[in-house]
């Protein structure tokens, strides 16, 4: 928790008004949303509970709309508590890997608006990252990359997104983190009671599923036996929007996990994000 005061300071110093990781999924990919010249700031707390230990990590995401279809994101860690040897995973598909600074370019290359409140769109994500720790999961990490694609639909009643990507890193002193391949599917629904008009609060609920397949880390020509594996997580999340503020929370549980070697199972991951668009 040593960086918690910094996180509190950052969120407190925000101007009085901020979008939650796009349209709101806590763990899955979604299409970018910023207007040309618009900024957003997301502060996220994520809890990872496992068989062996619990941990909390805090991340900040700054977004800027270069154009209405091109968005620049910068995500960086604010601190962590608990287990210091965290597994390498993405802190939500939009937020980047833990303990890294990640800069991403999001390009919405397809967009149609067939009706009032309705949009179909697709986007590509390209990110580069640098570890802020000497080692991630006990492995010296080189410069990382993230490449992802997502397509989706948004309306005043329902939402869905399907996406997938790969996060990898360059070799450093003969060691290399295993690639993480991930895919997400999100379905969202706005209950009738929350379909009141702007500026009244706007709430929506999601069911998210996230599949992660991590390769083993490599040290020299050897693969680390206690690394890599597959996980499929499913869980609900909720997004509340009021004016320029957004708050979202979600929990995802592994419905299946097959981890290599002697790695502790994950019990759940939970995430809370506070967003402001300005």
């Amino acid at each position: 928790m040593k960086y918690l005061p910094a996180m509190v300071l950052v969120t407190t110093l925000l101007p009085l008004a901020a979008r939650a990781e796009g349209h709101g999924p806590a763990f899955g990919l979604a299409t970018p949303t910023l207007a040309r010249g618009q900024w957003s700031i997301d502060t996220a707390a994520m809890r990872l509970a496992g068989e062996a230990s619990d941990s909390m990590r805090f991340r900040q995401l700054l977004g800027y709309g270069l154009t209405e279809d091109l968005q620049l994101n910068l995500a960086f860690p604010l601190g962590r508590s608990g287990d210091t040897d965290l597994p390498v995973l993405r802190g939500g598909s939009m937020m980047g890997a833990a303990e890294t600074v990640e800069a991403s370019l999001l390009w919405r290359f397809h967009r149609t608006a067939p009706a009032i409140g309705m949009r179909r769109e697709s986007a590509l994500f390209l990110g580069v990252s640098e570890a802020t720790d000497d080692a991630l999961a006990g492995v010296e990490a080189g410069t990382g990359f993230n490449l992802a694609a997502v397509t989706g639909y948004a309306s005043r009643t329902t939402y869905w997104w399907l996406g997938g990507g790969v996060q990898g890193s360059a070799s450093r002193d003969g060691t290399r983190l295993g690639n993480i391949y991930y895919a997400s599917a999100v379905f969202g629904w706005r209950p009738p009671i929350f379909r009141q008009d702007y500026p009244k609060p706007d709430w929506r609920v999601f069911i998210e599923s996230l599949y992660e397949r991590a390769e083993r880390h490599r040290v020299g020509s050897e693969s680390m036996p206690d690394s890599g594996g597959d996980k499929l997580l499913v869980g609900p999340s909720v997004l509340g929007l009021y004016g320029r503020w957004g708050v979202e929370g979600g929990v995802a549980w592994p419905v299946s996990q097959s981890l290599n070697g002697n790695q502790p199972d994950e019990h759940y991951r939970a995430k809370l994000v506070l967003t402001y668009w300005f």
Partner: protein, 168 residues
């Protein structure tokens, strides 16, 4: 085209004559339909961006109706194109609109136009509801006209007279 020419003088009666001393031409109000806007921050972004345009008095954004209603000060030089550009920059699609234009009606060849001071619009269409009302000399008056604005404005921009009385 003859249909248009015949109908314009009659349809001008729909508008409201304004005392010359009080007249300040321009776009007075735009009721702009927007496609693709689905969330509260989307609406907040559109609202804030539109408020930054010069001469904007008020902005009301409705997610459920998919529209932004922009009211402008008399004499504002802000154009329909500028308002639509702001909406596009927010990532949404402006479609048809209804506008209240204040300007001087002029005849140019076989066309009738309204000159708002900053822009000229070709007047098209008819107003069947007012077909039998006489109009002595519309060209000497400054009018407030309610018009329908198509999704795409050609050059010169053409608008269609609405049957709704100006000022409603």
């Amino acid at each position: 085209m003859m249909h248009v020419i015949r109908s314009i003088p009659v349809a001008l009666a729909v508008g409201t004559a304004i005392a010359a001393s009080a007249w300040a031409g321009g776009l007075q109000e735009l009721d702009q339909t927007i496609f693709g806007m689905d969330c509260a921050p989307c609406a907040a972004g559109v609202e804030q961006s539109l408020r930054k345009l010069p001469g904007v008095r008020s902005v009301r954004v409705s997610l459920n109706e998919g529209k932004a209603v922009v009211a402008l000060s008399p004499g504002s030089r802000t154009t329909i194109g500028q308002i639509r550009e702001v909406i596009r920059h927010n990532g949404f699609t402006p479609r048809e609109a209804r506008a209240v234009l204040v300007g001087r009606v002029v005849q140019e060849g076989d066309r009738w136009l309204i000159d708002t001071g900053s822009q000229r619009f070709v007047l098209e269409g008819d107003s069947s509801a007012m077909r039998d009302r006489p109009l002595a000399d519309a060209t000497s008056l400054e009018m407030s006209l309610t018009v329908r604005v198509p999704e795409k404005l050609r050059t010169p921009p053409a608008v269609q007279l609405s049957a709704d009385p100006a000022g409603r």
